[in-house]
Symmetry: C2
């Protein structure tokens, strides 16, 4: 549960165009470019949700914490992903940079009210993608074993990072644990177990090679 330093204040709406096009779903965001270093907060729970963000480089975690500090990471956001769309007026999660990260920040209203351009429709798609991922996540947290959780995490990350077999994870073991509802020790043990089984190869703790992606996917049940 790391506490978050200050943000490199994203002043709203200095028109600095930026765009990326990794997927057909890709959304073009017009806004300020923001640079964050490791563990810096993008926004905090309870703050007004007036902006949405797109990851250009690096990665972000969104999470909630219980009163006693237990943390649940809702999702990670990788380059190309848009995050920060909220159900209501206020932030329900805290967002922090996993590593040195570059974002584009756009006014929420800019995106939402622009109905004719089809941006609102894309925003809907993005929000629905969050919902879909959250429901998948609930299935994992509620019904999968530690082995299955770690395996599905690896498979999911591989797909999101561009269907590669060589993962360069932007997050620590603690982040993975807090995403999967496990402890750091269990994550570590499970990874070494997967390595011993020949399914993966660990090369430095941020770098994981998927030897048998097929078998790994089957492990997810």
């Amino acid at each position: 549960m790391q506490m978050s330093p200050m943000v490199t204040a994203p002043r709203p709406y200095v028109p600095t165009a930026t765009m990326r096009t990794p997927a057909p779903e890709a959304i073009r965001l017009i806004g300020v470019t923001v640079h964050l270093s490791r563990d810096q907060e993008v926004f905090g729970e309870g703050e007004p949700a007036d902006q949405v963000f797109k990851v250009v480089r690096g990665a972000v975690r969104c999470f909630r914490v219980l009163s006693d500090g237990r943390r649940q990471i809702c999702d990670f956001y990788l380059p190309g992903d848009v995050f920060g769309i909220e159900p209501g007026q206020d932030r329900r999660t805290t967002a922090e940079a996993l590593t040195d990260t570059v974002l584009v920040a756009a006014r929420r209203s800019t995106v939402v009210e622009d109905e004719d351009s089809g941006t609102a429709r894309r925003l809907w798609a993005l929000a629905m993608a969050d919902l879909q991922r959250s429901q998948d996540h609930a299935l994992t947290l509620g019904r999968r074993s530690a082995n299955e959780r770690v395996a599905s995490f690896l498979v999911d990350m591989a797909a999101r990072l561009g269907d590669v077999d060589n993962l360069e994870l932007p997050m620590t073991r603690q982040d993975i644990a807090d995403y999967l509802g496990l402890t750091i020790e269990t994550v570590s043990r499970t990874l070494t177990h997967l390595q011993v089984s020949g399914l993966i190869k660990l090369a430095g703790c941020r770098s994981i090679h998927l030897r048998k992606p097929r078998a790994l996917a089957e492990l997810c049940a």
Copy 2:
């Protein structure tokens, strides 16, 4: 994991107006009224998602299942709730009636494309409510103990059923277990434990009286 019988086929778009107004968020749905009996399927995973539903009476569970039959209930829907809004074209969950249930079924397009009436905005609100609940659910599944899960379930249900202290649950212990990521035995044990602690009073397994709602809420952490 009960298998689902046939639906009382909801023929689309026989204009039978129905409405209820439990919350300010309430949405008016124009469509057919559908009657379902216990365990009947409303829709199944993989089917095209061309309708949305509103619960008039009874209750509904939406769930996903792993290949080996493990089931995770994503959410319960109670009178006044709208469900069946999907991220994509197809159903990602299966929906079944918990008890004898009455629904209103409306064409999805009816609701989505009616932009000017503000219905699209309400649909957004509903979808976002699902997202919010799903994220809360993930926090519960990932980071709360069995005690905390059951307590928060009771508190949540009390709030949704109209902030009452006397719950008439429409679901079985198995449903609760599959919602909370526990076994039926653990749910049962936890409830009797809560009863022994004086926090609740069980009166027939569907009926639960909350003796100390405050203490119960604090138990959720």
